[in-house]
Symmetry: C3
Amino acid sequence: MQQTLLNEFRFFDPEPTVRKIAYELYAGVKDLPIISPHGHVEPKLLAENKPFPDPAELIIIPDHYIYRMLYSQGISLESLGVPTVDGSEVEKDHRKIWKIFAENFYLFAGTPTGVWLSHEFVEVFEIHEKLSGNNADNFYDLITEKLRTKEFLPRTLFNKFNIEALSTTDAASDLLEQHKKIKDSGWNGKVVPCFRPDAAVNINSSGWKKEIEKLSKVSGIEITSYKSFIRAIENRREYFKARGAVSTDQGIISPYTHKLSETEVENIFQRALKSNATEEDASMFVANMLMEMARMSIDDGLVMQIHPGSFRNYNEKIFNKFGLDKGCDIPLQTEYTRNLYELLNKYGNDSRLTLIVFTLDESTYSRELAPLAGHYPAMKLGPSWWFHDSIEGMTRFKQRVIETAGVYNTVGFNDDTRAFLSIPARHDLSRRIDSNFLAGLTAKHIIEIDEAKKLSHALAYGLVKKAYKL
Amino acid sequence: MQQTLLNEFRFFDPEPTVRKIAYELYAGVKDLPIISPHGHVEPKLLAENKPFPDPAELIIIPDHYIYRMLYSQGISLESLGVPTVDGSEVEKDHRKIWKIFAENFYLFAGTPTGVWLSHEFVEVFEIHEKLSGNNADNFYDLITEKLRTKEFLPRTLFNKFNIEALSTTDAASDLLEQHKKIKDSGWNGKVVPCFRPDAAVNINSSGWKKEIEKLSKVSGIEITSYKSFIRAIENRREYFKARGAVSTDQGIISPYTHKLSETEVENIFQRALKSNATEEDASMFVANMLMEMARMSIDDGLVMQIHPGSFRNYNEKIFNKFGLDKGCDIPLQTEYTRNLYELLNKYGNDSRLTLIVFTLDESTYSRELAPLAGHYPAMKLGPSWWFHDSIEGMTRFKQRVIETAGVYNTVGFNDDTRAFLSIPARHDLSRRIDSNFLAGLTAKHIIEIDEAKKLSHALAYGLVKKAYKL
Amino acid sequence: MQQTLLNEFRFFDPEPTVRKIAYELYAGVKDLPIISPHGHVEPKLLAENKPFPDPAELIIIPDHYIYRMLYSQGISLESLGVPTVDGSEVEKDHRKIWKIFAENFYLFAGTPTGVWLSHEFVEVFEIHEKLSGNNADNFYDLITEKLRTKEFLPRTLFNKFNIEALSTTDAASDLLEQHKKIKDSGWNGKVVPCFRPDAAVNINSSGWKKEIEKLSKVSGIEITSYKSFIRAIENRREYFKARGAVSTDQGIISPYTHKLSETEVENIFQRALKSNATEEDASMFVANMLMEMARMSIDDGLVMQIHPGSFRNYNEKIFNKFGLDKGCDIPLQTEYTRNLYELLNKYGNDSRLTLIVFTLDESTYSRELAPLAGHYPAMKLGPSWWFHDSIEGMTRFKQRVIETAGVYNTVGFNDDTRAFLSIPARHDLSRRIDSNFLAGLTAKHIIEIDEAKKLSHALAYGLVKKAYKL
């Protein structure tokens, strides 16, 4: 039965020559350790190492990939147990939630979420059936039972998954206490923080003032001016770096980069402190901060990541009722050539900087991103991201990027996930797609098999390790 | 000879494993009834049920897909008999027109028009030869002869084509007399109207005032204000619905949506009545009407369709001489995320609304449309449209949409055609491409064969029936 | 060993049916003469017919495709011997430069540059090894030795490469003395100039005034006004045409077209003469000149080429140190529908004009360019260009363009290269990709094999010959 659900040749080109080479390449990388340099696993999970709760709490309730699709078909988030901001009631019967999910599992046919879940059920829980309304209870019971065993404690799975290093994502004001707890516990799993200052940089978001207060407190630098703000940011980067961080990350609407004059930026900052910042102020402040972060990265060596082009919390009704990150983020068209001009001209020729750029706008792959990454020593391309980290999406990324930027201006894969259990599924998928892509090149005699093997290893392991210095 | 012209495995992947599955899936759907929920067949055709005229009048003169290509190679529309606005002379010898077409039929190699025509010649007219200058007369005679027989009367073909339901497209002021005639005739073919108010909504088009007068007349509501205009529109929707309509349709430049205040919109409307509306007024009025139409759809249950991004009548010379719809419409880059924001936030969470969105801008498939349709209960994706309803175009649509939106947030196929005889060819093409797409997923073990069969049925029949409530 | 490096089936689909047809089609076109209607080979090369210098001087130092990739990996242009503007020192040991290149040749795996170079080494230099650090010296010696022989003189290679016609690219003020020298030499190779007036049209570029002075001198028309400028341009077009030119070429940021009034354009021109032209002036002047160039093309029959969307010399540091064309040009998003509106409406219906449009923005292939070229008699689509003239890039171009525009609204291939030795490699790649594309259509029964053969010939030879009247 396993052949049916998780065929060993899955995702490979059905053409026998390509498939054979793909399988050979995949065999060479499938057991390599996982490096996960960018993601959203809660460090608390590994700090506390408590058993996972029930299947609904584990798989459905925290994963917007899953309830997004269910919601699009008219299933309410309340009925799926997604907690509300005001604490108003939602479904509490987790077996019932699981049942709804199971009955609608067919909706995920042909989606990466469907593929990851199938992998999870077979490989992690050893359930060799297709989930449906009929076997929902059986799945629920089997998973619940396993979750109570030692084998399913987070750290045990971390080791079983063969994770060599995992980066979390953390606010600039975070004290990284969970990371400390992990370290202090004596457990040898490598879990590092990533410095993400969005909440401190978005001067017109509702929580900004609070974040600035926190930042003042944790840095010991009273933030009353732009200059003290910058000192506090530098202070926090140092703090993060000392606790293992290798990178920073910024989510932005547009990748516009521009250094403001001291007066301009100070004026904006003062307006922000008085809650008078305009939208234009906020955009310019972000543009300026991208320049500052690049400068700081050259100083302290932290890898700089940016991922523009997501309209966050697009659905106001959902946002107001359920809060952040509920699957209502929608991509926007994004421009890189003109927007990155100032940053790349100032810092792009400097090999001390590693600037990893992600996108949700695939039309920029071959038009802007590959030509830029294929020229500037500092710039590298992050993998296909979010809506695009799928079979077709990853394939398109490779097809449009490699010919111009080459393999060595990319940085391998990252899973960017909140769903700890999906990490092996995602890396396995990526390794399969890369193997298949390289097999295609080999079968077309564009590269030779020994080159393909080297590139395969680089994509699965070498590039990410080098780029993130992990 | 038939094998050569219309091979039974045509359009399938040549790889034997995929081809075999594709053929199996196709075999399961090829004889399903055709539901054509969106198109431009004249209801008069089926109301009168008169024999089709000669081959040139049937195939060339009314079809801008065909003379567009001929024109691009320097063949004048006059020489193809396309009638002029001012009645100035054009070629009247239809055999001569046919000859020009036949001699240039090679231009269509590799185009969907070429593929549809080949299907038509073989399947409808049973001519198993490739059209060329040499056999032009022979084709002309054979087709002419068949068109005179009973078997080629429109209603007979409707039945032969196995059309379960066909939607026409009709102006808001249309009395639907042809539809009445069809119903009254006792013939059991299902032909329903679709409410398309463009002429009444585009306040700065030359014919607007006339359309408003007509609308006043047919609704019995004197339109002197925005409020009375809206009442008239609501009145006509009711009228259409009572006569079988299941949907509305709007062609727009940009999908910008915005509800104006009562004063704003009334002022614009009054300027329009005095022929003083600006371009900005016209755009804002459309944006406002999209909000109104969504509201009305929630009330009356008509499916709402929008297809933005076509620059109509781009070629002024052709437009001035030959009028509307002469193949001079050119796509424009289109933005959905920001433009649909207001509409989706107001109505997108409401499952009573079905909003079907089309596009001519393929770069929005994976970037904007699939993420939106994969989240909002109200929004569904219309199939690849117009310049994209081709073998490669349909394949790209599926490859870029399904992974994020899933199959069940799409609505199957529609032919959108004026060319009645091409309907089976277009649906057959679509079913083949969908079968082939699903066969690829199956051969790659992304889905299983039983899932593929269900999805195949849904794409060919189930989804369109459900979405349009037909 | 040759099989490994340059497999006879390279670049074809591995699926045996497709591969067999591709090979058959390719066999029919591979030995056709090369027509190179657009490129940047220096005419001096063929006028002087001197031996090529050493391998580094031949292959690395002048080719930004190559050092762009090396630079992106942190290798300085100085270390690659790229000459500086101010004459400051760069690496002079060409064997050392070659060694760096050889050691980093693996970076080109999967890129078209890698593929062209492999072709060059095997087919031109008959070295059947993969270049690496280990055999760098061996390569250097072998190539150096060959370059000293008669068989490697430029004209001998021109004949060996079976080049039927080659167009260079030349400034409006160029006296075409090298072309005269070629003609006077009695050698029968066909080398024609192409009229590229960019330096005279970009009124706010630093060298503009100098170019205007030159233009005055060579045309004998003192340029003091817009009118005299236009007379000078017309004069030069005549001069070029008399010396064999068949085309003009313009590199522009945006393809915006707009005829200014006589007063407007004269005012701009006078501001430019006083070095007071604004950026807006410069853009409007280009828009106006596109209209003028189209008008002139209708008069004198020169084919008009435009290639928009490149942000030239993006990297200021490199530009300031090393000058123009050093691989720092980055594509920009480009809009054609609205921008070409005025030109196409004025001249697009005129079959005397051939307007060949290129793009670096692939999202416009199916959205804008194919619909426009599939309608206007004057407009044709140039092949996939620069970052896109690769295996995947060419395939995408065909897949997105042919279904709407057909094959006959395209113009075959051009190599656009500075690297004379790469010409056969590039045309061979193009012929292979076209053969493979047509083989796919044939294997899917979209076209028949005899059609495929005709289309194959057209794409390799017929279309370019006809479009450029060569």
